[in-house]
Amino acid sequence: MNGFILTLDQSFLIDVAWQLLNTVILCGVLSFLLYKPVLKFMEKRRERIQNQLDTADEKLTDAGRLKAEYEKKLREINTEREEILSMARTRAAQREQEIISQAKKEAETLKNRAMTDIQREQEKAKDEMKKQIIEISSAMASRFIKASIDENQQKKLADEVISELGDVKWQN
């Protein structure tokens, strides 16, 4: 069989041209059928996953924002509750104070009234006593001086005596 390893002549150039054609065809076909579609597929997938990651990121930040918002709200609610509670407490204390003072006042008035009642009773009793004393003394006096002095004069006299006496003596 005839063969060669290396010739540097015209037919070598033709071989080069032939191999050039072969290589270009092969590379073109491989690029068209294999490399480009697979790269495109991977690129598309990468983009899709990137998109998903982006949306997930967005959602995460949204969720974080919402969480912060809710936490803020919760804190606000807590402080509000504290406020309300403390306000209620102070109001309750105030009310308590009020009630106590009112009760005290009432007790005071009651006591005062009772005192005045007692005084009035005393005065009444005094008057009564005066009257009785007057009666008794007038009765006694009438007994003593039945004949000499009439009743009116007697009463007047006894009144004078008793009021002079009473104003001084009944008051202690």
């Binding site: 037919s11 490399y35 579609p37 996953i49």
Partner: protein, 234 residues
């Protein structure tokens, strides 16, 4: 050549086209086989791509994604993110060169053991280098040849042409060296051929083949990326 020592690139047929002799060699036949395999694979991938899930479920999808992703990051780290569309070209080159280098494992002649193949690949790199140079640098591309002093112009031009030559000869020499050594080993008496060729295949075809593929693609990228200004890469 009667001793079974045969590592030639055989001419299977020759035919005339427009008065020029065109030879149909082992290289071209093997290239076609590799092309057929790769294109079939690509078609399978294209059909299965419709069934790919977001989360890879099959090892096949994992594998495809891994190689495409590896190529993508390889290109963008070497040439910049803006120029990662070069991955379309280099993916094909990488697959072709790798399969060619590994083709020796099946006792075929590797297409890359022919200077025509590596020359064609290096020629495309050469074209891309200067195309990108003119596209990105515009006028200053030609001025670069007159630096540091105008009289170094011939040396600059020679060094530009040395790039594809060294690229093609590196791959060609490595794979042909492996092919020749394998041919020599296979022409030895039968009792030597037990086990030893396997180890040599692992070294020359798998290790050197994969390494040279990587180096070829990486150097091509480096040479092309070198012409792109650093600030235009992103």
């Amino acid at each position: 050549m009667d001793s079974g020592l045969d590592f030639n690139n055989h001419i299977i047929a020759t035919f005339k086209l427009f008065g020029i002799d065109i030879r149909f060699t082992d290289t071209i036949l093997n290239t076609w086989i590799i092309m057929a395999v790769l294109i079939l694979f690509a078609i399978v991938v294209r059909i299965k791509l419709n069934k790919f899930k977001d989360v890879p479920e099959t090892g096949f999808q994992n594998f495809i994604e891994a190689i495409v992703e590896a190529m993508d990051s390889f290109v963008s780290s070497n040439m910049g993110i803006k120029y990662k569309y070069f991955g379309n070209w280099f993916f094909g080159v990488f697959a072709f060169v790798l399969f060619s280098n590994l083709f020796g494992l099946l006792s075929f002649r590797a297409p890359t053991a022919d200077l025509a193949t590596t020359g064609a690949l290096a020629f495309t790199t050469f074209i891309l280098i200067h195309f990108m140079g003119i596209m990105t640098a515009k006028g200053s591309y030609f001025k670069a040849y007159l630096e540091p002093v105008p009289f170094l112009l011939p040396i600059n031009i020679i060094s530009e042409f040395a790039t594809p030559v060294s690229l093609s000869f590196r791959l060609f020499g490595n794979i042909l060296g492996g092919t020749i050594i394998m041919g020599l080993v296979y022409s030895l008496p039968a009792y030597v051929k037990v086990g030893i060729p396997a180890a040599l295949h692992v070294y020359f075809d798998v290790f050197a083949g994969a390494l040279q593929t990587f180096i070829f693609v990486m150097l091509s990228m480096a040479f092309i990326g070198d012409k792109i200004p650093e600030e235009m890469k992103n």
